[in-house]
Symmetry: D3
Subunit: 247 residues, 6 copies
Amino acid sequence: MKILLINSNTTEHMTKTVTANAQKVASSDTQIVGMTAKHGPATVEGHVDALIAASATVELIAQHEADFDAFIIACGVDPGLFPARELTSKPVVGIGESAMLMACSLAYRFAILTPQQRLVEVLRHQVHQYGLISRLTAIYPVALSVAAVAQDQNAAIPAFLEAAQRAIAEGAGAIMLGGASSSGMDKALQLQLGVPILDGTACAVLMAESLVRLGLGTANRGAFAPPEPNKRTVGIPAAYQRWYDLN
Amino acid sequence: MKILLINSNTTEHMTKTVTANAQKVASSDTQIVGMTAKHGPATVEGHVDALIAASATVELIAQHEADFDAFIIACGVDPGLFPARELTSKPVVGIGESAMLMACSLAYRFAILTPQQRLVEVLRHQVHQYGLISRLTAIYPVALSVAAVAQDQNAAIPAFLEAAQRAIAEGAGAIMLGGASSSGMDKALQLQLGVPILDGTACAVLMAESLVRLGLGTANRGAFAPPEPNKRTVGIPAAYQRWYDLN
Amino acid sequence: MKILLINSNTTEHMTKTVTANAQKVASSDTQIVGMTAKHGPATVEGHVDALIAASATVELIAQHEADFDAFIIACGVDPGLFPARELTSKPVVGIGESAMLMACSLAYRFAILTPQQRLVEVLRHQVHQYGLISRLTAIYPVALSVAAVAQDQNAAIPAFLEAAQRAIAEGAGAIMLGGASSSGMDKALQLQLGVPILDGTACAVLMAESLVRLGLGTANRGAFAPPEPNKRTVGIPAAYQRWYDLN
Amino acid sequence: MKILLINSNTTEHMTKTVTANAQKVASSDTQIVGMTAKHGPATVEGHVDALIAASATVELIAQHEADFDAFIIACGVDPGLFPARELTSKPVVGIGESAMLMACSLAYRFAILTPQQRLVEVLRHQVHQYGLISRLTAIYPVALSVAAVAQDQNAAIPAFLEAAQRAIAEGAGAIMLGGASSSGMDKALQLQLGVPILDGTACAVLMAESLVRLGLGTANRGAFAPPEPNKRTVGIPAAYQRWYDLN
Amino acid sequence: MKILLINSNTTEHMTKTVTANAQKVASSDTQIVGMTAKHGPATVEGHVDALIAASATVELIAQHEADFDAFIIACGVDPGLFPARELTSKPVVGIGESAMLMACSLAYRFAILTPQQRLVEVLRHQVHQYGLISRLTAIYPVALSVAAVAQDQNAAIPAFLEAAQRAIAEGAGAIMLGGASSSGMDKALQLQLGVPILDGTACAVLMAESLVRLGLGTANRGAFAPPEPNKRTVGIPAAYQRWYDLN
Amino acid sequence: MKILLINSNTTEHMTKTVTANAQKVASSDTQIVGMTAKHGPATVEGHVDALIAASATVELIAQHEADFDAFIIACGVDPGLFPARELTSKPVVGIGESAMLMACSLAYRFAILTPQQRLVEVLRHQVHQYGLISRLTAIYPVALSVAAVAQDQNAAIPAFLEAAQRAIAEGAGAIMLGGASSSGMDKALQLQLGVPILDGTACAVLMAESLVRLGLGTANRGAFAPPEPNKRTVGIPAAYQRWYDLN
């Protein structure tokens, strides 16, 4: 099985790390190919960031749609998830959505931790959009800068533990790490907290593999039906043209 | 007051019509400047369409942010509405959202009519995203092709009346026209049905004017806080750079 | 355009202030006529208050229905909003509802501040009734008596800023002033907080003007259908009789 | 125990019937005193009707508050229920609310039948307001005029059976009769349908008796806190004055 | 009237107390027969506890279905409530559900107090399951062990008062005691707090009596339809056999 | 990896089929051990069925907790899912929940088909309990007896296609088969319908494998915290004793 993992953030070294992490949890016969968004911000932390990142992400999926069995959008706010699903009948999963869905298999209510105060309301909107608000306790900002977390995850552990302990005291049974900077901290936190800590990338790999192995693909009816073919277009990225220009 | 109206569909003649309609309902001291999305599909009917259109729409808003008092996204699914709001503290309104909010001032529950069966679930997701599901009765597809509606609105009236009458019988107090092709049919339908028929473009003009006149602008905290400045980016459209490259 | 603004509180000087404020934001060709509820409490702060105020408010609307183009209920809990809508096919707006709907155009989630602890749960019920709970963060009581606010708004600013800052820290992107006593404090607060502060009266004027200019009126089907004519009645206020006694 | 039952409809003979029905289901030591609203429409079928009826209803409760142990508002849309609750720490129940709450003890989802098409959306709003939408399947209009039902309940049975059978087929486990005209048809329908049929008046009597016997009264904190005393008022009904003029 | 009250906790002396309390609030012609679950934990505080208790509870109801007019499940999380309802067309009520439904007659939003931190999320799931989340403010753990409460209720009063006062300050109008250990503390708390305190057992007795007196029984359609007869079974408790083995 | 699959229905040959199907989709290094509930009905179709089945299911999980890496409850209504989760920190998944969660990765809204009219409301309650109502379009009964489906799946195809086509026309993007009798029909239906058809057993196997491979286990805080140890119990199944009798 070949899975295309797209880092929607334009940070090459993050792509390498995330792809390696993904390959580590993948089955031995799964090949994870990592690609970095061709344009966009270094890290996605809001709606504009996500829009630019979504374009870059969906273009890559469109371009390589024929060559992979499934697609992973490796960015917490899942940029381009719904549009990408219109372009393929293969599975497309986001690391945000996958972590939330798996959390629902482990706990009645989950919390999200993020080192970015700015993301709290953006993530809440995302949970609402997925219809999962009743499964969320709250979203907790960690009192650290993203940069600080990225530079030294070990030093960041105490701040994450503090936020997580508050989340648990307030009802959460599972905790999702909402930002790429904290990717890889899940095992250390889980060991100390005794509740499941969900890392989105890992969840997405397993969700994608599962869907492929089951012969399940994205719905091409309902909200994710493909674009109408033969529609007049202007200057759309070349990658999309085969969906529009069918004659 | 100067309002930039962006037709997210790449159809020049539609821009002319919509801008003229918008100018007609605007105050005498309001100037509506219409612009057409520089790239994208002729008509927006799904998530990929909307993503491409959102990029084109938000780029135009970013580019002209300083020159206008408010911005209208003239496309029923409001492409780029949330990202655009991060880029300005001036009002940004979508014709879909404005029609829904005004409908809530006129009726307890409203219905949406669309000539595009394909849009039914997309619009439902949009209403859910806005948190307005309890104010919606249902979304009714009109049994006509979009092309047929666009070519001869008069001939389309009976099909719209039929769908509207079903909507009213099933509880709707107001009806929103969900597609650009039906723009301009509101008065004729309203006359025959005796319930308010909401045309999104008209609603958006008045909503934008109202916010400007009240000195109210988009929130720059919460979910619509502006992008973090000085973030490293790759190949983002020039229009966005002044938000990112502040040094 | 002539708009009847009804102060549902029986406080004449408040009517003068509110009408003046309303006229200030109205278009030059709009005439705002202020009237004070003929009976009821000085200020509306609960369900009984609101019931008495609603009777007085709706009677005035009924009595003057033919003479105005739209109606504003100038009281935060919108007394009589739904009944008034049954009596006219012209727009009827409440300052509470208008502020909430406009807030939805500016922020994903809004907060409400009120100097009346007693109103917190009443306002929450109102937001629930309008189906907008998912757009609300919370309702914050300001630690001041209503009288104190009314007597010296400048002295009240610090207490409002404190509550507003807590609201913003907890996710609100826009803030609505929920009580008449704080009307007029919006600009000063907005300047210091950098988030949109919504004053209900101003919002209602613009919403009413917008609906009139668009030829949109209250639904006469669904939940707001007019009373059945020719129904036997006992001692109903004279103002209502033309809806009931049609023969 | 003395319970004041107020028929919010100004129809004396209906008061007699309803009071007799109420007395029939009451405990032997309970005295039901029926009173008819002093003013208002013969039958309550919308928001204006309900507002006028609410005034008359709440005034009667205010006037006789000291003399009874509990209060029943005998009208399906529960006019004045929330305001009345502010005026007393004794139980106040509505026949609509009581039937819904008891239905929740018998079935997971219930339906409402009403001979008044006009009431369908009004009742839906009421269920939403009570937070019980997830327990409702739907509201079914019965294809008969209210007058026809009132005149000959036996002749109306087939139409009710038809609507009820549709309700059951669509998931309802219990059925609530939403209109006063159908009061008394519950036993006949229940016999033929084999599902519980809830008559609001009966439910309200038992709910009121239960609360009294348990020493439970209306909350005087939260949304139903009593009016602020010593507030300046203008021309409010004499009945209310003891709540306002405490000095 | 004969009501079977089942203590789902296997604690004989608790059964005696609860039955006595139930008899105290029951009508003089009602006989409450208390039975203790034949197997299960001493106190029910989670899903496994509840499953074991549900089996024991439903078996007792099945066994004695013919001999009683109604059934009370005397355990806050209502173990076996929905299955029991399939087995009888007589009323089956739970003390948790009854208290919540009655609270809805007294306050717009209620809170729940429990001495068991462990139960907070379990109770929240229960409220969600009943569709009543919008009527709940929050669930407050009382800072005391269950044992401490059970041993000396008087000594526990201050801790309950503290939690209740927080609940009231945060919007609750009524307070429900969520655990059996606090049964009987309602009157003392109510006296000091001035808000209704709901004791589940008392509520359930009155709800059950009410339903019986009204001739209302559990729905045998919808979610609570009886088991399919003549289904092949293996080793099911003898008590159930008459529902399955009809030939 | 060793997974214990429990058929909550006491039908041995079904266990064989389901286990074989499960093994077919499992990884080569996963061993699926099928066990049949020791007591209970042949097929689970309601709350009593589910309660008896839940006891049998949870007992088997408790008994074999130490010997497996994960547990699958192979019955559409997921009997015992929440209690089982309290007894282990290993993953426990239900075929109903797993199919719903995976459907959320493929479509915005899904439908459920069931040959059992009786199950429609039971399944709806289940979806509500999981907080996923906004992702559900509707539940469609297939006009066939369960026996008919079980005996000849090929002959049942047309009836399923008809229900599925209605579901798709009404907005569903993915379809879940809600009953064990239709297990195995997914591929044939998917081929003809062009939308993803989810078979619960297959979904559960992949979900369980995924969680195990990720080192994620059931939350032992929040709603699924383990039972309090050393609690006095009476006659509980031996399987549970090691959770209760820790001394």
